[in-house]
């Protein structure tokens, strides 16, 4: 997963909506663990479009 750190507002919303509980937020830093199955939900829901996936268009 790619986080555009200039866009992300650290709201934690993606963390709470990830069906694999694979996202972690501490302060301003988002990390993803290997449970991510690339479902794309976080990318779609981020209010400001701060997330994208490697290899996706």
């Amino acid at each position: 997963m790619i986080v555009n750190t200039n866009k992300c507002l650290h709201c934690g919303g993606c963390v709470g909506s990830c069906p694999k509980n694979a996202i972690f937020l501490c302060d301003t830093i988002l990390t993803f663990n290997s449970d991510c199955n690339r479902c794309g939900r976080c990318v779609r829901l981020c209010p400001v479009g701060a997330l994208s996936m490697e290899g996706a268009q």
Partner: protein
């Protein structure tokens, strides 16, 4: 760091965690409250509207510094500009305050501290400690150092992130349609009413959600939007709708942004499999207790925190924090909240299907109906008479 030990560990110091810690500590429970951020109540993820009657229910006297503005009523507006105004005389205690959340949240945690809870900031729970399959505490990172906290019961109060429950076996996963991504600007120089909260509905304005203007006095307002998760995708993001609205509404032609806040609301009818398990219970947003129609969660957060303390005091007496003992908490939540959550979830689902024209009609119906005491229940009754399709499937809850 040396491990800590307590009876109840509350994870997250928002209103739900603060109230839970206060309520536990007041009942003589040895309580620790942890918060991963360096400051309680900031950054903001909220429009800060709360009903006045909430304070009565939780037995807390609101401090003047918590309240930024006292609302005279609310206005519901449809895309064609039709509006319906509810005044305090008709809406009674449903009308509320616009808070200063960073002071309110700190104020509730202050009450917890005064009651004897120990508070650790910058302390992040990263997972449960299990012994023979039983949850006996939490692995944390405190100021960058690993810290284990042992306890009899964990209260998950970690807000929308809702990870504590999922780590501990409580299913808090949401359907896409029950997630509402939001964005809000705190704006100065607004020429909108400073006495009325405004809610603007309609698919062209906020698909699957609504847009709000919550005034804070002196030309300042929280102007924000939430849209339904099923509508959200690249090119359809809350920010675009909010920017369009602000650019087109003359009341904001001079307004400037002081603060940008984002956040997600859950809009589900509560948790199907319950709010607790052995040695763990969930309060507030982590238990997905936000009202799915209004997006309001502060009230339920505080009330559920209070219930947690009441039930855990009984558990302490009996030395029993099992799932069976904690069912008393689930019962309290179900009795107090679940009918309302379900009714409002159904209403939200139906509203999300309607086009702008129908919303215009609905707001007209509301504005011409003679409603003595305005609340969600009575509004739905008025709509039920003239537009029964909206309440199909949950008439019995109205």
């Amino acid at each position: 760091m040396n491990p800590l030990r307590c009876e109840v560990l509350v994870v997250g110091a928002g209103p739900a965690g603060g109230m839970a810690a206060k309520s536990c500590a007041e009942k003589g429970i040895d309580t620790i409250l942890i918060e991963k951020k360096p400051e309680i109540g900031a950054p903001l993820r909220c429009a800060e509207g709360v009903s006045k009657k909430m304070f009565k229910e939780i037995g807390v006297e609101p401090k003047p510094e918590w309240i930024r503005a006292d609302m005279k009523g609310a206005v519901i507006r449809s895309p064609d500009g039709t509006s319906f105004q509810l005044d305090e005389s008709k809406a009674g205690a449903e009308v509320g305050y616009v808070l200063e959340r960073h002071l309110f949240d700190k104020g509730i945690s202050k009450l917890a501290a005064e009651a004897g809870a120990r508070i650790y900031l910058r302390t992040w729970m990263t997972g449960p400690i299990k012994e023979n399959g039983k949850i006996v505490g939490a692995h944390c990172v405190s100021m960058g150092e690993p810290l284990d906290i042992y306890c009899d019961c964990i209260v998950g109060a970690d807000g929308v992130e809702s990870q504590v429950g999922r780590w501990c076996g409580i299913d808090t996963n949401l359907k896409l349609g029950d997630i509402e991504p939001c964005i809000q600007y705190r704006m100065a120089g607004c020429e909108c009413s400073m006495d009325f909260c405004e809610f603007i509905l309609g698919r062209s304005v906020a698909p699957g959600g609504y847009l709000w203007i919550f005034p804070k006095g002196d030309g300042v307002a929280n102007v924000g939007i939430g849209i339904g998760g099923t509508f959200a995708k690249d090119g359809v993001r809350p920010k675009q709708f909010l920017d369009k609205f602000i650019a087109e509404d003359p009341r904001f032609r001079k307004a400037q942004i002081l603060e940008i806040d984002a956040g997600f609301d859950s809009t589900c009818p509560g948790l199907e499999d319950g709010y607790s398990t052995d040695n763990v219970l969930l309060v507030g947003d982590s238990a997905r207790l936000i009202d799915p129609l209004t997006g309001g969660g502060i009230g339920h957060a505080c009330v559920s925190g209070m219930y947690a303390g009441e039930v855990l005091a009984e558990c302490k007496k009996k030395g029993d924090y099992s799932a069976e003992a904690l069912k008393a908490y689930d019962r309290k939540i179900r009795d107090r909240m679940e009918d309302g959550l379900y009714r409002d979830w159904m209403a939200k689902e139906k509203l999300a299907e309607l086009d702008d024209e129908t919303i215009n009609e609905l707001v007209k119906i509301m504005s011409t109906a003679d409603i003595e005491h305005v609340n969600v229940q009575n509004l739905l009754i008025a709509i039920k008479d003239k537009y029964p399709k909206l309440v199909e499937g949950f008439e019995d809850l109205i």
